[in-house]
C-alpha cells in the first residue's frame, strides 16, 4: 500500500469543470435565499453565463495544453492522474457545453404552455390532489431544474475525462442522479413522467451496480484502478485472465446501458417519452456524447491492448443495436418513442466507429482515426437530436404536446416551416447527403472498414436503409396524409426555442456541406493521453 500523497490540483486546466460545478452550487444557494419572483431570471442568467464562461474556458485551455508525440495527442493528467484533460476530453466538453446551452434555452421556454415552463409546478404534490390544483393556480414552477441540470453537465464533463475507474463511477453517478429527478418533473402527464423517472432510476442503479462490480474485478486483475496501470497489466499479461474478461464485460454493461445499446435499451423509449421534452432533448444528446467519450477512454486507454477480446462483443452489440433500434422504431406510434428507438439505432452506428480502433502504427499518415470519426458523429448526432426534440415540443393540441404520429398528419400544410425543419432533421438522421448525418456515417463506416469490420459495415448500411424507411414514413405523414380532426396546431415559441431549432438546423446543414473545420478540430483533438 502506497502512502497517501496529496494530489496537486491543476486549476488552470480544470477551470471549465470548476465553473460549471460552482454555478451549480450557487444555483442551490439562489433557491434558498432569493425570493420566488426573481429566481427564474437569476437561474437562467446564471446557468447560461456559467456555461458560456466554461465554453470560453474550454477554448482557452485547448489552445494552451501541452502536446505529445508530435501533436498526435495533447493534454495533461490532472489531480494526481485521475482526470485527463486531453484533446478528446476538451472536444467533448465543448460539445456538451454547447448542447447544454441549447438545453437551458429549452428549459427556459415559457411561451408554449401559456406562460409556464414544461416542468411541474410542485413536484411533491401528488397528481390529482388539491395541492396540485393549488400549485397550478399559483403558477408555481420549479427553478431547481437549472442547478440540477448544471450538476448533470458537470457529471457529463467529468465522466469522459475520468482517468481511473473510481472517478469514472463518480462521474457516472453525478450525471445520472439529476437526470433521474428531472425526468419526473413533467407538468403534464405527470404519472407517465414519474413512472419514467422511477424506471430510469431503478434500472440505472442496477446498471451502476454492474459497473462497480466490474471495476472491482478489474482491480482484482490489475491491482490498480487507474487506466494506465490496467493497460500496463493487460500488456504484460499478468493477472487472472478471467477476472479481466468478466470485469470488462460488467463495465461495458454499465456504460452501454447509458448509451442505450441493445440489449440494454429497454428503458430508452419509456424515459424519452415520459420525461419533459426539454429534458429528453438535453438528455438524449448530452448523455450519449458523454458516455461515448467514457466508452472510448475505457476501451482505448485501459483495454486497448486487449482489443481482440472485446471487439467481437462490440461488433455484435453494434449490429443488434442498429437493427433492433431501426426495426422497433417502425412500429412506434409516438414520435418521442420513435426518436428513442432511432437513438438506439444511432448508438449502433456510433459503436461501428468505436470498433474501428487500430493501433497508431497501422494508421497511414493523416488517415482518419476512429476517435476522430466518433467525435464527429457525436457532434452531428447531438445537434440533430436536440433540434428534433425542440421541434416536437412545438406541435401541440388541447392537452399539451401531441406526440402521436398520426396526429402530425397535415403538419406540412399547417406549418410548412416547422414541418420542413423537422423533415430536414429526419433526413439528417437518415444520412442523406448535404446533411451532417451523411458525413458522420461516412466517417464511421470508413474507419470500421479500414479496421476490417466489413460485416458490421454491411449490416450498418442495410440498417440505415431500414432506418431511412421509418424517417420517410414520418415525412409522408406530415406532408401527404389527411389531417385527423382539426389537425395539429403549432405553438409559436419564444426566441429561446426558435434559436435552438435554428442553430441546430444550421449546424446540421453546415456539418453536411462544409464539415471540414469540425473534422479538422476532431483531428486536432488527437488521441487520448495515458
Amino acid at each position: 500500500m502506497t502512502e497517501f500523497v496529496k494530489p496537486s490540483i491543476e486549476y488552470f486546466e480544470l477551470w471549465p469543470l470548476l465553473v460549471v460545478f460552482g454555478v451549480a452550487c450557487l444555483g442551490v444557494v439562489v433557491e434558498a435565499f432569493l425570493p420566488r419572483s426573481v429566481r427564474y431570471t437569476t437561474q437562467v442568467v446564471l446557468a447560461l453565463g456559467g456555461l458560456v464562461l466554461a465554453l470560453v474556458g474550454v477554448v482557452l485551455v485547448a489552445q494552451d495544453v501541452q502536446t505529445y508525440d508530435d501533436g498526435a495527442a495533447r493534454g495533461v493528467l490532472a489531480v494526481g492522474g485521475t482526470i485527463a484533460v486531453d484533446g478528446p476530453s476538451l472536444f467533448i466538453w465543448g460539445l456538451v457545453l454547447a448542447l447544454a446551452i441549447a438545453g437551458v434555452l429549452l428549459f427556459a421556454e415559457r411561451h408554449l404552455d401559456g406562460g409556464v415552463s414544461a416542468f411541474a409546478g410542485q413536484a411533491a404534490a401528488v397528481p390529482g390532489t388539491d395541492a396540485e390544483t393549488a400549485s397550478i393556480a399559483a403558477n408555481r414552477e420549479h427553478t431547481e431544474v437549472y442547478p440540477l441540470m448544471m450538476f448533470a453537465v458537470f457529471g457529463m464533463m467529468l465522466f469522459p475525462a475520468a482517468n481511473d475507474l473510481l472517478t469514472m463511477f463518480v462521474g457516472l453517478e453525478i450525471l445520472s442522479l439529476p437526470l433521474y429527478l428531472l425526468s419526473g418533473l413533467a407538468r403534464r402527464r405527470r404519472l407517465l413522467s414519474q413512472e419514467a423517472a422511477l424506471k430510469y432510476f431503478l434500472l440505472g442503479a442496477f446498471s451502476s451496480g454492474f459497473f462497480l462490480y466490474g471495476a472491482a474485478l478489474l482491480y482484482g486483475f490489475a491491482g490498480s484502478l487507474d487506466f494506465a496501470s490496467i493497460n500496463e497489466a493487460v500488456r504484460n499479461d499478468v493477472g487472472n485472465q478471467a477476472l479481466l474478461l468478466i470485469g470488462t464485460g460488467l463495465l461495458s454493461v454499465g456504460l452501454l446501458f447509458k448509451v442505450g445499446a441493445v440489449p440494454f435499451q429497454a428503458w430508452t423509449p419509456d424515459v424519452y417519452q415520459g420525461a419533459p421534452t426539454p429534458v429528453t432533448a438535453f438528455m438524449a444528446a448530452g448523455t450519449k456524447v458523454a458516455a461515448f467519450g467514457a466508452i472510448m477512454r475505457l476501451f482505448y486507454v485501459a483495454l486497448g491492448a486487449d482489443r481482440w477480446s472485446w471487439q467481437p462483443m462490440l461488433w455484435i452489440i453494434a449490429v443488434l443495436s442498429m437493427f433492433v433500434g431501426a426495426a422497433l422504431a417502425i412500429t412506434q406510434t409516438d414520435i418521442k418513442r420513435l426518436l428513442a428507438y432511432s437513438s438506439v439505432a444511432h448508438t449502433g452506428f456510433i459503436l461501428t466507429g468505436v470498433i474501428g480502433l487500430q493501433a497508431a502504427d497501422q494508421l497511414a499518415v493523416g488517415e482518419i482515426s476512429s476517435v476522430q470519426a466518433v467525435l464527429f458523429y457525436l457532434a452531428t448526432y447531438g445537434f440533430a437530436t436536440i433540434g428534433a426534440f425542440a421541434v416536437v415540443s412545438l406541435v401541440r393540441d388541447g392537452g399539451g404536446e401531441t406526440t402521436a404520429i398520426d396526429r402530425w398528419a397535415g403538419l406540412g400544410k399547417e406549418s410548412p416551416v416547422v414541418a420542413a425543419v423537422f423533415a430536414f432533421f429526419l433526413l439528417a438522421m437518415a444520412g442523406i447527403p448535404l446533411t451532417s448525418g451523411f458525413v458522420g456515417k461516412l466517417a464511421v463506416f470508413s474507419v470500421a472498414l479500414a479496421a476490417g469490420a466489413w460485416p458490421v459495415v454491411v449490416a450498418a448500411v442495410l440498417a440505415s436503409i431500414v432506418a431511412a424507411y421509418l424517417y420517410v414514413r414520418v415525412i409522408k405523414v406530415m406532408y401527404f396524409d389527411a389531417p385527423v380532426g382539426d389537425g395539429p396546431s403549432v405553438a409559436y415559441p419564444s426566441v429561446l426555442t426558435a434559436t435552438t431549432i435554428a442553430v441546430g438546423a444550421a449546424i446540421t446543414l453546415v456539418l453536411g456541406v462544409l464539415p471540414g473545420p469540425v473534422l479538422d478540430l476532431a483531428a486536432v483533438a488527437g488521441e487520448f493521453i495515458r
Binding site: 413512472e195 422511477l198 424506471k199 431503478l202 434500472l203 442496477f206 446498471s207 485472465q241 474478461l245 468478466i246 470488462t248 464485460g249 460488467l250 461495458s252 454493461v253 441493445v262 440489449p263 440494454f264 429497454a266 428503458w267 419509456d270 477480446s309 467481437p312 462483443m313 455484435i316 452489440i317 426495426a327 422497433l328 417502425i330 412500429t331 497511414a364 493523416g366 488517415e367 482518419i368 476522430q372 410548412p416 442523406i432 447527403p433 448535404l434 461516412l442 463506416f445 470508413s446 472498414l449 459495415v457 454491411v458 448500411v461 442495410l462 436503409i465 424507411y469 420517410v472 409522408k476 401527404f480 396524409d481 456541406v513 462544409l514 464539415p515 471540414g516 473534422l519 479538422d520 483531428a523
Partner: protein, 664 residues
C-alpha cells in the same frame, strides 16, 4: 466464364497495357474561358428552385400571388439559360483538341481530413457534354410543355420549383468529378423524384407510389454507398481520376465487389430487374415528370454510372457478365409488361424499362458497347420524351383518362399529337432511317458479335417492341371511337404541341449522331478504343434480319389487335401469360414474399418479444422462484422487472460471450 471473351482477355493483360485500353481520367483544371462558368450550369436551376420554393412562400401576399402566377416562367427561363450555357460549353469543347477535351473545375473542398478528402469538383468531358445537352435541352422543352399541361393546377409554382430542383440534382450527378458528388446528385434526383411522383398528394396511390420508389431506390443506394465506402477503404479516394489510375492495383475480389455493388446501385435507379417494381407505379406523377425523370433522364443514370465507371468494369469480367444478364432479363421483362398494359403511361413505362435494358446491355459489352449505350440513351431520350408528352397531350384531351381501351380513332381529333407520336413510334420500333433504328441496330449487332444467345434474346426483344408499340398506336389512334359521350377530344394548345414537334424532329434525325461514326470517335477518349469483333454475319444481313423481326412483331399486332374489336373493359378470361404480364410479372408479389413479409414478420416478432416475450419469461420464471415474484410485483409497474431481467440477461450474455470467445 467465356460468355464475354473479350473482357476476359482484357483482364488478363498486365497493368501497363490496361491503362492503354481504359483511359485515365485526367482533366485539365485550368482551361479558363467559358469553362470557368461550368458551375453556373448547375447554379441556374438551383437559383430557380430557391426562388420558387424558398423565397416565394415568404413574400407578402400581393407579391406571392404574382409569384404563383408567373413563377413557372422563372423556372423555365432557368432551364433554358442552362441549356444555352451547355450549348456554348459544347461548342467550346468542340474547339479543343481531341486529347484535351477533359475539363475540370474545383469549386470547394467539401471535406478534408487526412486521407478522407472529398472536393466539390466538376468534370466536363465528352460524356458529360452529351448528357448536359440532353438534360437541359429535353428538360427545357418539358418545362415549356408543362406550362400548358399544369395550367390549371393551383400549385404550379411549386411544381416548377421541384422540376428545377430535379434538373440541378441531375446535373450535379453528371458533372461531379468523384463518386461522393455523384452520390449527392443521385440522392438529389431521388428526392426530387419522390416529391414529384407524390405531387398530387390528394391521391393515396400517388403517395404510396412515391414511398415505394423511395424505398426501392434506397435498396439500390446500399450498393452505391457500399461501393463508395469500399473505394475509400481501398484507394483512399473516390475521385474519378485517382480511381481510374489506381484501379489496376486493387485485388480482383475488390474489383468484383465494386462492380457488383455499382450495378446494384444502377439497378435501383434505372429500374432494372430485380429492383424494377417502382417504375410503373411512378407513373402516378404528372406526365411531364414521367417524360423528364422516368423516361429521358433520371432512369438512365444507372447507364451513366456503368459507363462512367468503365475503369472498374473493364477489370472485372464477373461484374460485366452480371450487367449483361441483368440487362437482358430486364429488356425482355419490360417488353412483356408493355404488351399487356392498358394504361398508356404504364405501357410506355414498360417500354422504358426495356429500352434501358438495351442501354445496359450495351454498357455491359465493354468499349464496343459504351458509345452505343450512350447513343441509344440519347435517341431514347428524344423519342420517349416525345411519346410521353404525346400521351400527356392525349390525356389532356381525354379528361385525364389513361385507359387505352377508352381511346381509339384519335388521329383525326388530334392530328399534331398523332403525327408527332407516330415519329416517336417509328423511331422506337427501329423503322429504317429513324433514330432508334441506328442505335438499336448497333446494340443488337454488338451483342450478337459478343455472345449469340444474348444477341438473339436482344433480337427477340426488338420484335416484342414492334408488337407492343403497334398495339399502343392502334388502340390509341386507330380503330373505332370508344370514348364516352361527354369526352370531347381536342388538340392541345401550342405551348404543348411545339415541344412535341421539336422532339419529333429529333426522334427522326437523332441518328445523325452516328454519321461517320462521330459519336464513337467522340466518346473514344472516355470509353477507350474497342477491339474489333467480327459479327457472325455481315452487318447488312443483321440489319435486314432485325428489320424483318420487327416487321413480324408489327404484323402480329396488326392481326391480333388491329383487326379485332377492342372491348372497353379488359377481358378477364385471358391466358396465364397475359395475367402474369398484367400483374407486372408478379414483381410486387415477389418483393412481398421475399422482402416485405419476412421483414414485417421480423419487426412484428421483435415488437412482440419486446412487449410480451421478456415479460412472459419473467412470469414463467416467477412461478418457479415463487416468493421472489411477489416481491417484484410490489414495484408499481410490472414492466420494470422485465426490463431489469433483460438487463441481467444481457449482462450474462456479454460476459459469457467474452469468456467463451477468449477462453474457449
Amino acid at each position: 466464364m467465356n460468355l464475354l471473351s473479350h473482357s476476359v482477355l482484357a483482364a488478363g493483360l498486365p497493368m501497363a497495357e490496361e491503362g492503354a485500353h481504359t483511359p485515365v481520367v485526367a482533366p485539365d483544371m485550368g482551361a479558363g474561358g467559358v469553362f470557368d462558368l461550368l458551375w453556373l450550369v448547375i447554379a441556374l436551376p438551383v437559383l430557380g428552385a430557391v426562388l420558387l420554393l424558398g423565397v416565394a412562400p415568404f413574400l407578402p401576399a400581393s407579391l406571392k400571388a404574382a409569384a404563383d402566377k408567373h413563377g413557372h416562367l422563372v423556372g423555365t427561363a432557368m432551364a433554358a439559360l442552362s441549356f444555352v450555357l451547355s450549348l456554348v460549353l459544347f461548342v467550346a469543347l468542340l474547339g479543343r483538341d481531341a486529347e484535351s477535351r477533359q475539363v475540370g473545375q474545383q469549386l470547394w473542398t467539401w471535406f478534408e481530413t487526412g486521407s478522407l478528402t472529398v472536393g466539390m469538383d466538376l468534370l466536363y468531358d465528352q460524356l458529360a457534354a452529351l448528357f448536359l445537352l440532353l438534360i437541359t435541352g429535353v428538360g427545357s422543352l418539358i418545362h415549356v410543355y408543362a406550362i400548358g399541361y399544369m395550367e390549371h393546377d393551383p400549385r404550379r409554382r411549386r411544381f416548377f420549383g421541384y422540376l428545377n430542383l430535379f434538373v440541378a440534382a441531375m446535373l450535379t450527378l453528371i458533372l461531379s468529378a468523384n463518386f461522393v458528388g455523384l452520390f449527392l446528385g443521385w440522392e438529389g434526383v431521388g428526392l426530387a423524384s419522390y416529391l414529384l411522383i407524390g405531387f398530387w398528394q390528394h391521391k393515396p396511390s400517388a403517395a404510396a407510389a412515391a414511398k415505394k420508389a423511395f424505398v426501392i431506390n434506397r435498396v439500390g443506394d446500399i450498393g452505391l454507398s457500399l461501393a463508395i465506402a469500399l473505394m475509400f477503404a481501398t484507394f483512399g479516394t473516390t475521385d474519378f481520376g485517382a480511381v481510374s489510375e489506381l484501379a489496376g492495383e486493387a485485388s480482383q475480389g475488390t474489383l468484383n465487389a465494386l462492380g457488383l455493388l455499382l450495378l446494384l446501385g444502377a439497378c435501383g435507379k434505372s429500374a432494372q430487374v430485380p429492383l424494377q417494381a417502382w417504375l410503373l407505379d411512378a407513373m402516378e406523377g404528372p406526365t411531364p415528370v414521367s417524360a423528364l425523370i422516368h423516361a429521358a433522364t433520371m432512369v438512365t443514370a444507372g447507364v451513366y454510372l456503368v459507363v462512367r465507371s468503365n475503369f472498374i468494369y473493364e477489370l472485372t469480367p464477373v461484374a460485366q457478365t452480371a450487367v449483361v444478364i441483368v440487362a437482358t432479363v430486364t429488356l425482355l421483362w419490360g417488353a412483356i409488361l408493355g404488351c399487356a398494359k392498358d394504361d398508356i403511361k404504364k405501357a410506355l413505362a414498360g417500354s422504358t424499362m426495356s429500352q434501358i435494358g438495351y442501354m445496359m446491355l450495351a454498357a455491359g459489352l465493354g468499349p464496343v458497347g459504351y458509345p452505343f449505350a450512350i447513343f441509344h440513351l440519347l435517341t431514347h431520350g428524344f423519342f420517349k420524351a416525345n411519346m410521353f408528352l404525346g400521351a400527356g397531350s392525349v390525356m389532356h384531351g381525354m379528361n385525364d383518362d389513361v385507359d387505352m381501351r377508352h381511346y381509339g380513332a384519335l388521329n383525326k381529333a388530334m392530328p399534331v399529337t398523332f403525327l408527332t407520336f407516330a415519329m416517336g413510334y417509328l423511331a422506337i420500333i427501329g423503322f429504317p432511317g429513324f433514330s432508334g433504328f441506328w442505335s438499336k441496330d448497333k446494340i443488337i449487332e454488338s451483342a450478337l458479335a459478343d455472345n449469340l444467345v444474348i444477341g438473339l434474346l436482344a433480337l427477340l426483344g426488338a420484335g416484342i417492341t414492334g408488337f407492343y408499340m403497334t398495339r399502343l398506336m392502334l388502340m390509341t389512334f386507330f380503330g373505332e371511337k370508344r370514348w364516352e359521350a361527354d369526352v370531347h377530344p381536342h388538340e392541345s394548345p401550342k405551348v404543348m404541341t411545339v415541344p412535341l414537334i421539336v422532339l419529333a424532329a429529333l426522334s427522326v434525325l437523332g441518328g445523325a449522331l452516328l454519321l461517320g461514326d462521330w459519336i464513337v470517335t467522340w466518346l473514344e477518349p472516355v470509353t477507350g478504343v474497342a477491339e474489333h469483333h467480327e459479327p457472325p454475319l455481315p452487318a447488312i444481313v443483321i440489319t435486314l434480319i432485325i428489320t424483318a423481326v420487327v416487321a413480324l412483331g408489327v404484323a402480329a399486332a396488326w392481326f391480333l389487335v388491329g383487326k379485332r374489336e377492342i372491348p372497353r373493359e379488359a377481358p378477364q378470361d385471358v391466358s396465364f401469360a397475359t395475367r402474369a404480364a398484367r400483374a407486372d410479372l408478379y414483381g410486387d408479389a415477389i418483393n412481398d414474399a421475399v422482402v416485405v413479409r419476412p421483414g414485417a414478420g421480423l419487426v412484428g416478432g421483435l415488437t412482440t418479444f419486446d412487449r410480451v416475450g421478456v415479460d412472459g419469461v419473467v412470469e414463467g420464471g416467477s412461478s418457479a422462484v415463487g416468493g421472489l415474484s411477489t416481491t417484484m410485483r410490489r414495484v408499481q409497474n410490472g414492466f420494470v422487472r422485465s426490463y431489469a431481467l433483460s438487463l441481467l440477461g444481457g449482462a450474462l450474455l456479454v460476459v459469457l460471450a467474452l469468456l467463451a470467445v477468449n477462453l474457449g
